[in-house]
Every structure is written in C-alpha cells, then in structure tokens.
Amino acid sequence: MQALYAQLLVGLINGSFYALLSLGLAVIFGMLNIINFAHGALYMMGAFCAYFLLSLTGIGYWWALLIAPIVVGIFGMILERTMLQWLAGLDHLYGLLLTFGIALIVQGVFQNYFGSSGLPYAIPDYPQIGEWRGLQGGMNLGFMFLPVYRGWVVIFSLVVCIATWYLIEKTRLGAYLRAATENPTLVRAFGINVPRMITLTYGLGVGLAALAGVLSAPINQVRPLMGADLIIVVFAVVVIGGMGSIMGSIITGFALGVIEGLTKYFYPEASNTVVFVLMVLVLLIKPTGLTGRAA
C-alpha cells in the first residue's frame, strides 16, 4: 500500500510536466488553430537556455526560470511573425508540417553540436535557509522519500497552470483573445491589434514549454532529444483532454501522469503505451476529447 502512495505521488510529478506542456499546446491550438509540433523542441531549448545561462554567464536556476521562457518565447514570436502567420486560415496540416520541420531542424542543429547523451545541470543549492540547501535533499514522508525538488515542481507547475487558466478564462485580456479567435474581423473593428495579440499568445505558449524545460533540466539530462521523446505523449494528453481546452489539458495532464505511474507499478512494460491505449479509447467513445465541445 505504501508503495502505491509513492507511485501516485511520482505520477503526479510527471503529470505536472504533461500539464505544463499540454497547456502550452492547448493555448496555441485554441487561440491560433496551429498544431504546434515544435513544442518539444522549444521545451528542449528552454532546458538548454538554462544550461547556457549557468555555464556561460553563471546565472543560476532561479533567474533561468524567468529568463529562459522570455528568450525562447521571443524566438517563438519570431517564428510566428516570419513563418506561421502566413498559414492562418489554411488547413491544420500545413501548420503541423511546418512546425514538425522546424522541430527536426532545431533538434538536428543541437544534436550536431552537443551530441545525444546530454549535459549535466544540477539542482540549485541556494538560497540556504537553516538546514535547507536550496531545493536539494529530500524529506521522508513515511511511505516514500520525496526529493524537495520534485515537490517544488508539482507546486510550481500547479500555480503556473492555474494562473494561465485564470488569465485566459477570467481576465479582460483573455476575453479579447477568445473573441479574436471567434471573430477576428469584429474584434479588429473595436480597435484591437489582433495580429500582435496572436503573436504574443504564441510567445506565451512557447514560454510555457521553455519553462517546463527549465523545470526538467535538473531531473533529466539536458539532451537535444528530450523533447522529441516527450512530445508524442503530450499530444496524446491534449487529444484526450479535448483539443484547445485549457482546463481539460491541465486536468488530463495530471491524471495521465498518475495513471502512467500506476502502470509503472502494476505492469511496467506497458508504461510507454498506456497513454495511447487511453487515447484510442477516448477517441472511440468521445471523439472531441473528455472536455471538448463538438465543433
């Protein structure tokens, strides 16, 4: 039973990465109608950005949490301005192919220079308060040893997810955004700069991916293919949750992490496939996803 609790908690930790990544995807799909296959590559860039900040300039983890999403977000906005905006109104397939191509190029360039085994990035050991050494070490919960860093990841990503949901669903800015996706011409008539808003939204989605990258850097090796391995699962999460649904992708992200964790306990061989089995089931029963509305 204790082992089960531990697996549930570990599942929740992985779920927070799924949630952060699928949230970014959902924002981009919901607002821009682009299936962003470059998301995994941008997540990887976030992790590399944190690595470079530390190794080249000595800027540590905490600042990287802020700087990396901004840097990668700007890169994303450049992509949107120079390439993606021309695909507005075309079939989804064009956006998918373009972003997939971008992902392959970005990953190829990084792999060419940094190989495949990856680069080390340590868990931050500051600030030091009392016996706490930054986010290093862990605590004994009775049923498991919880590394402080993992706990931090769950809490931080929950906060970020809820803040993003609030921004889009509850604020005036979010209302403009949602209106702009429904009817861009009308919103423009009210004097709102719709193209700029779309660019910023893409930047926000990309920034969320980069943030997940920074969060994962101390856990996984910083590797050029770290995103490629993850992105397919995250897409399944988005499909299960309902394409473009913000709350749907957050909840499904966490839930699937837990289900995957349980699979790792009961039948580890299937842990890489369980998400896809679920995806097939959901698509058969409710093709719009768990929280999706019929188009």
């Binding site: 531990a6 570990v10 940094f114 085994s117 080390p120 040893f145 993850l230 580890p268």
Partner: protein, 406 residues
C-alpha cells in the same frame, strides 16, 4: 592514334588477366559502418565510429600499396528491421565487404543473420549480447570489444565479493537488457548471492523514479542497472535525487561508457565502478590515438570503447587481407584467417580471436574519480582491477556455439 589503340588493347588484356587470373589480386575493400547516428547511443558510436574507421583506413597505408578502400555509413535508428534492410542493400547493391560497429543488441543479432546468410563479414564492436558468440555464433562474425558475460563477470564478481549479495535489477526491456541481467544473475547466484527482483523498463525512458522507488523498496544491497546510454545516465541522476545511495544501497552500472560519465559530470558519477576494455589514458598508445581522434571530433570527445574497437578491428582486418594478398570477397574465409592470426594494435594490445568469434583482451575495472582528483576534462577513471584476457570472457568449455569443437 595507333599508339592509343594498342594501349587500349593492352589495358583490356591486362584487366582481363587480372580479373580472370586470380581473385586474390582484387585489392578493393568496401567498409560499411552501421550505427546509431541520431538516437540515444549516437555519442558512444555514431559519427565517432565512422571517424575511427576513417583513421584506420588512413593509418593502414594500404592506399599507397595499390588498395582501394571505400567507406560508407548509415543510421540504423536502433531498429532491427531498418538495419537488416540496409544490410541487404549494402551487400547486394553496394558490395560492402565488412560491417563495423552495429551497436544495439537487437540490431546486432538481426544483422548477424543477414551477414551469415550472405557470407559477408561483421566485426561487432557495439552490441553487448554474449549470444553473438554463444548460441547464435556465426563463422562470419567477430565480436570485438565487450559482451554481457564479460561485464557481468568483472563488475558483478567485484561487487558481490565486496559484500553486495542481494541484487535488484533495472532492466532495459529488449535483447540487451535481458542478456545482461541473465548473465549477471548467473554470476551473483554462483557466488551465493541472490537476485531478489527486477523491473523491466521500455528502452529510452526519461523518468525512472517509479522504477527506482520499487528498487528502493526491495531493500536490495545492489541495484543493478542492466541498461545503457541515456537510460543509464538518467537512472543515475535520478537515483541520487531520491537518496538511494545515501540510503545505503549501491548502484551498479553494468554497462557505462566514458561518454556517459562525461555527460553526468563527476559530481554525480563519482564513486561508480564498472568495466570497460578501453580507456584513452591507459598507456602511450591509447593516449596518442585518442588525442588525434579527439582533435577531429566536433565536440572534442575522447573515443568510447566502441569507437576504439572499430579502429582496432579494422587494423586486424586489413592485416588479414594483406596476408591473404588480396580481398577474396568470401566472408567466412576472411574470418577464418582472422582467427588464425594473432591480434595486436596500440589500443587493445595483444590478443586473439577464438573459434567462437570472440576477440579476447583484458577487462579493466574502473572507478570514477572524485571531482577534486580529476585533472581536467575527460580525466575520469581510476583503474582498480584487471581481469586477464583468458579469464575475462565466457570459457570455451561452457560455450553453446557449434563452431567450438569439443
């Protein structure tokens, strides 16, 4: 004009004489490096293996003696079906004479069958499974650098003797992981230890925390990592996060490469002990080769034992063909001759190839240095034990290979 026509006749006559007269005078060689150029094993093989082959060709001096050597390489993407398709095309269309590297046990075993069926040659320097020279041995295959039996024997024995008598395995769920776990369990049980559990994870996983928690709960003294490449580095990194080593359990890297240690950093990797058959800083010969190699690598990496094996294997292959006076394009015949001749090169020293296709040389048990002990990048290992060549690999008396006469 007259001169040119007579010259043409003479040329044709010579060519015919050469072609029909003696096969042994054919001095063309085509080498195919089949490896993982893009996935999780590409740092320990990949472009480095192709570079090592290139260096072996240049150092052989065969071009000056009238030989023509071509080198091609391809990415098998760790998929046996892709690898066998490439292998068939290489043999049938490209006329490749010898396959080098062929890392990944699943891929290695699949290509092993094609090479045997088509009577080509494979010097496998990357696949770990000891089946290549045991039940599935072939007259066309030489297994060069290491295998699961040797790793289990060296690392497993050292750890059990140091008191680690209960083992829990974290095993990559494919041919390699299964073979490594099987061979290590055999060693552990032989020394009165116990294998108390195992968890099989899919190849190329990124999160190991669930598996590590199961290993932690097992209370085994040793957690044996029967995986490789990115899977191993992530396991080690996350094990330190979950306080596994601090809790008194010991991690056993059954297959680690210097590229993995480089990627982990000494702070995380320090104290790990594992077995390799090559290290760049072993002696003057290895240092000289590795320096030249590293200068030509894009990321200035030192060679892994897989890459060093490609060089060493080709040195012996070239020596064999020179002794035969030409390339007969008959795989089994070339491999038989390779087994007759003793091996000797700067990287692996003196050795030999046994009847079952196993190349033997000493196995070294290394321990990763502490950060303060290291003098700079790539100065990572302390040698803590050596198993002589004759004892390092599976004894022929235990072999299930039909090529071994008993």
């Amino acid at each position: 004009m007259k001169h040119r026509i007579s010259a043409l006749f003479l040329g044709t006559a010579l060519a015919l004489a050469a072609g029909g007269g003696a096969m042994a005078q054919d001095k063309n060689i085509k080498i195919g490096v089949l490896t993982d150029n893009s996935g999780l094993y590409s740092d320990l093989g990949g472009v480095g293996s192709t570079l090592a082959a290139q260096m072996a060709v240049e150092d052989s001096g065969l071009a000056a003696k009238g030989w023509k050597i071509d080198l091609i390489s391809a990415d098998h993407q760790n998929k046996p079906d892709i690898a066998t398709t490439i292998a068939r095309q290489w043999i049938d269309v490209e006329k490749v004479d010898i396959f080098m590297d062929v890392l990944n046990s699943g891929v290695g075993l699949a290509v092993n069958n094609v090479v045997k069926e088509k009577n080509s040659v494979m010097i496998n320097t990357g696949a770990a499974t000891s089946d290549l020279t045991n039940a599935q041995c072939s007259p066309n295959t030489v297994h060069w650098v290491y295998d699961t039996y040797m790793l289990a024997n060296s690392t497993g024995q050292a750890l059990v003797k140091a008191g680690g008598d209960t083992w829990y395995f974290l095993t990559a769920d494919y041919a390699f992981g299964h073979a490594l776990e099987r061979d290590t369990t055999a060693v552990v049980v032989k020394l009165d230890g116990a294998d108390i559990g195992t968890v099989k994870h899919p190849l190329n996983s990124s999160d190991f925390s669930s598996f590590l928690l199961q290993a932690q709960a097992s209370k085994a003294k040793i957690i044996g990592m029967a995986n490789a490449g990115g899977d191993t580095t992530n396991t080690i990194k996350q094990a330190s996060e979950f306080g596994i080593v601090a809790g008194g359990q010991k991690l056993a890297g059954l297959l680690l490469f210097i590229t993995d240690v480089h990627s982990l950093g000494l702070k995380v990797a320090q104290g790990l002990s594992f077995t390799e058959t090559f290290y760049w800083d072993l002696n003057d010969g290895t240092r000289a080769f590795s320096k030249r190699f590293s200068e030509r690598m894009k990321n200035k990496a030192m060679p892994s034992m897989v890459q060093a094996g490609v060089y060493s294997g080709l040195v012996h292959y070239f020596k064999t063909l020179e002794a035969m006076g030409g390339n007969p394009h008959d795989g089994a015949k070339v491999v038989a001759k390779m087994k007759e001749l003793p091996t000797d090169d700067a990287l692996f020293g003196k050795g030999s190839i046994r009847a079952d296709g196993r190349k033997i040389h000493p196995a070294y048990l290394f321990e990763v240095k502490k950060p303060e002990e290291s003098k700079g990048p790539w100065d990572y290992y302390k040698l803590i034990g050596t198993t002589p060549a004759e004892q390092a690999f599976r004894p022929l008396s235990e072999s299930a290979c039909p090529l071994v006469k008993k």
